[in-house]
């Protein structure tokens, strides 16, 4: 049973509050429904309390006065964003009470909370219910009556946090925005996390794990689209934040009040707090220049930050739109050379990854390309047996659903892309593509890089060789001649189409010559040529 909190305990208690918030800041961020970003609530609150705790850590003495002073100064200094500033004000009020105590009793604690709530309300020009303010106010009110009945901190803090949870659950009823998004207020959650941190420490829990009862589905932009569209236009476009330090000697506290009045004339969400040593200003306005000019009359500016909220909003809207236009099936393909990439593009492949025999893309490259495609399911054509594995690995890197069609060559990939039917289901497409890619017989023509003896051929460096996906089938000294030999080896009666993709080392007229000679040789087949632009391979041959 702990009846009082001493300086040393107070110090550690603050630390515990901060560290619990750190662990949960992402969770608090996820509750943030307002798509006009002032930054993220959890992160902002954490940075605020982190700065406060940093100041406390620097503090040598363990007396309440200096600890309180350090904590409230640090919080004000580090305050970021709306929620951060309100947090800093809560602690400013809180500390203004604790600094006069030698040891804190539950009654002092309740009084401190009440003062914190009062100061926080004052800091905001138009206090809204259903926010962090409501949570701290109700907690403080309950704390006062609880303190009369409980003088041991274990029970007291536990009950205070309990009431906090209760009021937090009601916040969606007070703010329609929260209700629509199906979340509780993020700032309220944040402040409750801090107080829960205090409670955990007082109860002697070293292990500061905090789990939430109201498990929230992960929030993403897609989930709050409705709000973004209903948000309408932003009245004031610039979120302006700065601190005024080294005030001129003639500056009076009344001047700070006047500054607040003037800021309210040019904008809203005005927060203008502090004393002659430091003033923290936050305002949403269309005239940040004026906001700065007014402040310059008082002293020097410090830590300025001006953000264009309209632009941020536009970006969010864009993202939301992209999410809306999400299609069912997308395709990405690996292609050696721009020409082949172009061919794939024409076949409605969404993203092309340049790569091939000598430049295998990594799993990450593939995953990145998949991220760019606005589709739920994405078919991947590796078009090379060395890339199939990487493509399969990419599935683990991205959270999109990747289906790898194990195409071993570009012609197979093209056949698969042609087989794509946007109206068919994922499974039907997968089967059709796999089948189509199997039906293609492909070959390629390149040159030998060293003297060797393979597949019954004596090869010399620089000689032209023709191969299918496994073995060398033809060799020669001329590209055209070798290609013809290769086709001879590959062709059978079922072949109807011969397609040649000529590489970057082959001129168009050479390819046309070959086309003419092949057409004469195989009158039953249709011979087409296309510029593949691939390196290393003179020709890629597709027979089907």
């Amino acid at each position: 049973m702990q009846k009082t909190i001493t300086g040393a305990t107070f110090r550690k208690m603050l630390l515990a509050g901060a560290s619990l918030l750190e662990q949960n800041k992402d969770y608090v961020d996820s509750l943030n429904v307002f798509p006009v970003p002032d930054g993220d609530t959890g992160t902002n609150m954490f940075l605020t309390i982190k700065s406060a705790v940093g100041e406390v850590n620097k503090c040598m003495g363990n007396d309440m006065a200096s600890l309180s002073e350090a904590f409230s100064k640090g919080a004000l200094r580090g305050a970021r964003g709306n929620s951060g500033v309100i947090t800093s004000q809560i602690f400013k009020g809180f500390c203004s009470v604790t600094k006069d105590c030698k040891e804190i009793s539950t009654k002092d604690f309740a009084k401190a909370m009440q003062e914190g709530a009062a100061i926080a309300y004052k800091a905001v020009t138009k206090p809204k219910e259903g926010t962090i303010l409501t949570v701290i106010r109700v907690m403080a009110e309950n704390a006062v009556s609880l303190a009369k009945r409980h003088d041991d901190f274990e029970v007291f803090l536990a009950k205070v946090c309990e009431t906090g949870e209760e009021i937090l659950k009601q916040t969606p009823e007070m703010l329609p925005v929260l209700k629509k998004a199906g979340v509780v207020d993020s700032g309220g959650r944040g402040i409750l996390v801090i107080f829960t941190g205090f409670m955990r420490y007082i109860n002697g829990e070293e292990d500061l794990e905090y789990t939430f009862e109201d498990e929230v589905k992960p929030q993403s932009v897609e989930d709050v689209i409705a709000d973004i569209n209903q948000l309408g236009d932003i009245q004031f476009g610039y979120c302006t934040e700065y601190m005024i330090i080294h005030m001129y000697k003639k500056t009076t506290e009344a001047d700070i009040d006047k500054l607040r009045e003037r800021l309210m004339e040019i904008g809203d969400s005005v927060i203008c707090i502090g004393d002659l040593s430091l003033v923290k200003v936050h305002v949403h306005t269309n005239e940040p220049n004026k906001a700065l000019a007014y402040a310059l009359e008082l002293g020097e500016l410090f830590n300025l930050k001006i953000e264009n909220m309209r632009e941020q909003n536009r970006e969010l809207k864009k993202k939301a739109q992209a999410a809306e236009e999400m299609k069912e099936i997308g395709m990405i393909s690996v292609a050696p050379g721009d020409g082949l990439g172009q061919i794939f593009k024409e076949l409605a492949v969404d993203e092309i990854i340049l790569g091939g025999q000598t430049m295998n893309p990594s799993a990450e490259d593939i995953a990145n390309a998949a991220e760019k495609v606005p589709a739920r399911t994405i078919f991947v054509f590796p078009n090379n047996k060395n890339i199939v594995l990487a493509a399969e690995q990419a599935n683990d890197v991205t959270n999109k659903n990747l289906i790898v069609i194990p195409t071993r060559s570009v012609p197979e990939g093209i056949a698969a892309a042609i087989a794509f039917n946007p109206d068919a289901s994922v499974e039907e497409n997968q089967n059709a593509m796999t089948e189509a890619s199997r039906a293609v017989r492909s070959g390629s023509v390149t040159y030998a890089v060293r003297d060797t003896h393979v597949d019954g051929f004596d090869l010399h460096k620089g000689e032209i060789i023709g191969l299918d996906d496994k073995a060398i089938l033809a060799k020669g000294n001329l590209v055209g001649e070798t290609t013809e030999k290769l086709i001879e080896a590959l062709i059978d009666d079922s072949v109807m189409n011969i397609t040649l993709f000529y590489g970057e080392d082959v001129r168009e007229d050479e390819a046309e010559e070959l086309q003419a000679s092949l057409a004469a040789k195989y009158p039953d087949c249709e011979v087409t040529i296309a510029n593949g632009g691939q390196p290393v391979y003179y020709y890629l041959v597709s027979l089907e």
Binding site: M247, Y248, K249, K250, T251, T252, E253, A254, D255, D257, K258, E261, L276
Partner: protein, 116 residues
Amino acid sequence: MTVDTNNYYGNISISDNAIRTVAGFVALDCYGVVDLVSKNLKDSARELLKKERYAKGVTITHVENRIFIDIHCILKYGVSISAVAESLKKTVKYSVENFTGMIVDTVNVHVVGVAV
């Protein structure tokens, strides 16, 4: 009662009396204002004794260092009351803010009578 502020050099407190005198002086200067009159007899008697000519008919209250001024005045016959009251409010607010450096929240003008 005083309004308080401070700066680098120390505290500044301005008494209601000082503010009242400024407000009264400025108000009398406004076109259309004939005289300032106290709300009730008790105040008039006291003001007579103190000989605070300019301070009569002006009451000052303040909440959290924001000044609220009430002016009881007699206007000249023939002027537009609303126009005079408007200019009176503006002038008093400006002068008092300029003089004290504090924020004047409200200036209420009570037209007690008309001098013909």
